[in-house]
Structure formats: C-alpha cells, structure tokens
C-alpha cells in the first residue's frame, strides 16, 4: 500500500524552444491538498498535462496512484478526476447530457451525486453548454471532474471565473473530498485560495520547482512587522545593532521594524525599557509568494 499518490522522478517536458517543464521531482501524499503555484507561463499546465498523459515526457518517469504513467493511462484515468485549464465543451450538449456521456464512459455514475453538486453550485444543468457563462461552464467542468468518486483530483485553476460564493463552495467541496481520504492536486495563481485549503504548496517558476513547503511552515518563516510603543524615548542605535531586525525606524517613543527569525534578542533588549504596547502584523503568504515570483527565491528578502 503506497501513500504517495503522485510521484515523479525527473519528469520533464521541454519544448524545442527550451521552455516547458524542467526535470521535476515531486511527491504528493495520500489525503492531502497540494497547491501548485506559479506565475503565467511557469509550466503548471505543462506539468499537469504531462501527468495526464496528454504530453509525452521528454525525460523521467512518474507514477500516479501507484501506476506507471507511461503504461497504465487508462487505469489511472479511471481513478482521476481532471479539470483542464482551458475548458472547452461541446456547445450543443446540455450539462445533463455531458454528465450522462462521461458517466457511461466511467461505467456508471450516481444521479444523486450530480443532483447534489448541481444544487450546491447553483447550476442549471438543462441548458445547452454553449449558452452558459464562463463561471457556469467552469462549474460544469468541476462537476465533470468530481463524477464517479475519483481517488485523485487534478484541477488546473479550478476557481477561474467563479464568483466569491461559488468559489467558497468549491473550496468546501475540496475539503470534504480530503476528509474522505482523497487527494487533490490543484494549480492556481490565487494564493488566497491555496492558503485556505492546501496542506502543502509547490512553487514553480520558469519550469523549475523552486520550493515545496507546508503552508504552516511557509507562514512561520515569514518576517513579522512589529511596532512597539514605549513610555519614554529610546535610543535608535540599540535596535539597529540587532542582526535579526530589518528596516529599523525609531520615532520618539515608537519602534518600527521587521523581525526575521528568532525574536529572543529583541525581547531581551525590550525588557530594559518600559513597553506600553506591542503590535504585530499578520504575516501574509502573498508576500512569500511574490518573493518567489521575483528574482531571489528567499523568504527573508521580502520587503514589507
């Protein structure tokens, strides 16, 4: 019994232009929601379509649900639900007809599941797909991916085009999916949503995986912005001397700074003065994300 649901060994898909996906080593574990983040053109769709068997890898290997990608595409697809990044649906079909077709190909689906999902997402399944708005088409794609209780969901930008209410509903569905012991691999540029649902994130830039981390760890590494108000004016030099402080500003009785790493020194230094108030800013993952997007892949270079 394997606990890794997706496992790649130097899986690569390089186009002739030299861009695409550079050798990727990644392990997604059973029962987690993994967020795959990166700027436009980073290679998220390329990685996902290679994992789906649409793109033939230029190197490496991958196992999905313990099955070799190159040889068992059919068996893998029987247990994977997929939402393409660019969803195109036959315009003359209705959602109901599409679900019927896909259900038959999957060897049966439960009408009750379709019913409950269309109700949750507020989708009118009787209209031709060609007449649906972008967000409603996206709902159709999501329901299609969820049909037949797959063990793994591979979603390329699942919340693209959804309004905030449906967006939250979708994230809720993904959480429930995880509760049932299933696994989700989703790509996104919207950090807020990944932060809300993902256990771990991988950040990809220019075709290379820059980092893989637990969301909680990423947050813990974040620099904290701190504002301390004293009862009396304090000397600036004392705080500038502390190595773990950045951006130190002292104005009258107020110290503003960014703490990177351990806070021990700072606390001990503060103990010498009478402190009226300490205020910290909630660290935002957005900032980590942006720092990875930009040149240096270091959390501590984040300017707040």
């Amino acid at each position: 019994m394997t606990t890794s649901v997706i496992h790649t060994q130097a899986l690569a898909k390089l186009y002739r232009t030299g861009v695409g996906l550079h050798p990727l080593n990644l392990e997604i574990k059973l029962g987690e929601i993994f967020g795959f983040l990166g700027p436009n053109g980073a290679g998220k769709t390329t990685a996902i379509r290679t994992l789906m068997g649409y793109l033939r890898p230029t190197g490496g290997a991958a196992q999905v649900l313990g099955l070799d990608l190159a040889r068992h595409t059919r068996e893998i697809h029987a247990r994977v639900g997929y939402l393409p990044g660019e969803l195109r649906l036959a315009p003359h079909l209705t959602a109901q007809e599409l679900f019927g077709i896909l259900g038959r190909l999957r060897g049966g689906m439960s009408g009750r599941q379709v019913q409950s999902l269309t109700e949750r997402f507020g989708l009118d399944a009787s209209r031709p797909l060609g007449t649906l708005s972008k967000g409603n088409k996206q709902k159709v794609g999501l329901i299609a991916a969820l049909l037949g209780q797959p063990d793994l969901l591979i979603l390329d930008e699942p919340t693209d085009g959804l309004d905030p209410l449906v967006h939250d509903e979708v994230l809720q569905v993904l959480r429930e999916f995880r509760t049932e012991g299933r696994t989700v691999f989703l790509s996104s540029h919207v950090l807020a949503e990944v932060e809300q649902v993902a256990d771990r994130v991988g950040i990809i830039r220019a075709g290379r995986l820059v980092t893989v981390a637990r969301v909680a760890d990423l947050k813990a590494q974040l620099p904290h912005r701190l504002e301390v108000r004293f009862a009396h004016p304090v000397p600036e030099g004392v705080f500038q001397a502390l190595p773990e402080l950045r951006d130190v500003q002292v104005e009258h009785q107020t110290l503003r700074c960014v703490v990177v790493g351990e806070a021990d020194h700072l606390i001990k230094t503060l103990a010498a003065y009478r402190v009226l108030e300490v205020r910290g800013h909630q660290p935002s993952l957005e900032d980590v994300f942006l720092s990875f997007y930009r040149e240096e892949a270091h959390v501590d270079s984040v300017a707040l």
Partner: protein, 264 residues
C-alpha cells in the same frame, strides 16, 4: 468501451449527416424528375450521338437516354462522388484533429479510454455515417427511378453506390489519418483536397493524354468511377481496393498518434 464513444460521436454528427443526406436526396430526386423529358426528346439523343467520342467519354455522356446511362451521367460519374468526398474529408478532418484543435478531446481523454479506442471509434463513426449516406442514396435513386418508370438494375445500382461511397471513405480516411498523425486540421483537409484534385486530374485527363494512362491506377477515381457500373461486365474489385486504402491510411497514422502530444 469504444462502442460507447462511437454512439456518442454518432449522436454528435447525425444532424450534419442528415442535412447532407437531405441535399443529396433532393438532387437525386430532381434529376429523376427530369428523366422523362430527356428520354422522350429525340433531339437530345441525336445530339449526343453526334458528339465526338472523346467528349462523350469525358462527360460520361455516351448514353444519356437509358436509365443506367442517365443515372451514370447525372449522378454517379461526377456529382455524387465529388459531393461525398467533400463531406467525407470534412468529417474525417473533424473526427480527431478538428475536435482536438477545438480543445474538445481534453475532457474526453481524461476518461478511462485509450487513444487507440478514440481513433477506432471516430473511424468507425466516419464509416457509419458514410454507410447511412450510401443507404440513403441507394434508396432515393431506386425509388426515383421507379417513379418515372425507369428500369434500373438493382445490383448495378448497389455497385455504383458502393463505389462512390468507398471513394469518399478512402479520401475521408486519408484526411482523418493525416489529422490524427499531426493534430493539424488545416493540414489534413488541405492535403486531402489537394490529393483529391490531383487524383481527379489524372483520372479525367488520362483518356486523352497517353502519358498519364499508366498513372491512372494510382488515382482512387479509377477504382470508383473508372467505368460505368451500369454498362459492360460489373467489376467489384475497385470497391475492395478503396476499402483497403482507407483502412491502411488510418493504421499507418496510429503509431504517430500514440507518440505525439495531444492539443498544442
């Protein structure tokens, strides 16, 4: 599983096929409606008699007056085959490459089906649609002939229909194969039409141009409309050749389809 894919594709394509069928049936019916006028006009018969032999052959107009001669000249020698080839190349191009370019294969291929099954289903769907058109053409032609008291030989009509349908099959399958191997619908239909025009040129010029005579056997038109099935000894060998050409084309494209990327 591929039969399910076949049914789904037939459902998608049936409306288009029925419209083409309606157009073809109308053409056949109207042609028969004018048959009595042609048959009873002695001037026309004499006029054709007086045409130079080469011209008569080119237009398939050796004999416009007998039911078989009329059916050959008006329907089976040129207009039906050309129309069917156009239908078939369009359908064959859409079958894989067209749907792929539209992004329609993305959700489909995420289901537990293989590329081979998809190709088999789409190929069978093209064949089934052509079969429907064939049955329709046969029926409307036979009915039309009966309504104007033209005594058309059923077996010869069947052969004529099979020949034009299999011509369309061969060229449509070539378009399907090109699209499947490359994923490019423009290239597939463009090349298939170019091939059709080239083949037709060889076929239509070879009676007059001796240098082209030995080449006429490479033209699918030779096997489909090389000679009228309504005159002389019937020969069904051409039908077999055309069937084979289509099947081999699709088989040859399969390895490339399995190797390449889907949807670029």
């Amino acid at each position: 599983m591929w039969t399910q894919l076949l049914f789904d594709d037939l459902r998608t394509t049936r409306r288009t096929t029925l419209w083409w069928m309606a157009g073809l049936a109308l053409y056949v019916a109207v042609s028969w409606a004018f048959y009595p006028v042609v048959r009873d006009s002695p001037d026309l018969a004499q006029f054709v008699e007086r045409l130079p032999e080469a011209l008569r052959q080119t237009f398939g107009a050796q004999d416009l007056v007998s039911p078989g001669g009329y059916a050959w000249a008006r329907l089976f020698s040129l207009l039906l085959p050309i129309t069917l080839v156009i239908y078939s190349i369009r359908a064959g191009t859409r079958a894989v490459a067209g749907d792929e370019e539209q992004g329609r294969l993305e959700v489909l291929l995420a289901q537990p089906i293989t590329r081979t099954e998809l190709l088999a289903a789409r190929t069978a769907s093209l064949a089934a649609n052509l079969l429907v058109l064939g049955v329709g053409i046969f029926t409307v032609t036979a009915l039309g002939a009966r309504l104007v008291q033209a005594d058309l030989d059923g077996a010869r009509l069947l052969l004529a229909t099979a020949q034009v349908i299999l011509l369309a099959w061969a060229l449509g399958a070539v378009a399907l194969a090109l699209g499947t191997a490359t994923g490019r619908p423009g290239l597939a239909s463009g090349l298939a039409f170019a091939l059709t025009l080239g083949a037709y040129l060889i076929h239509s010029l070879s009676p007059q141009v001796p240098a082209l005579q030995p080449w006429r056997v490479v033209s699918p038109f030779w096997y489909a409309v090389g000679q009228s099935p309504f005159a002389g000894p019937p020969d069904a060998r051409g039908v077999g050749v055309l069937l084979l050409v289509g099947v081999v084309a699709v088989l040859l494209a399969t390895p490339a389809f399995l190797r390449r990327d889907i949807g670029r």
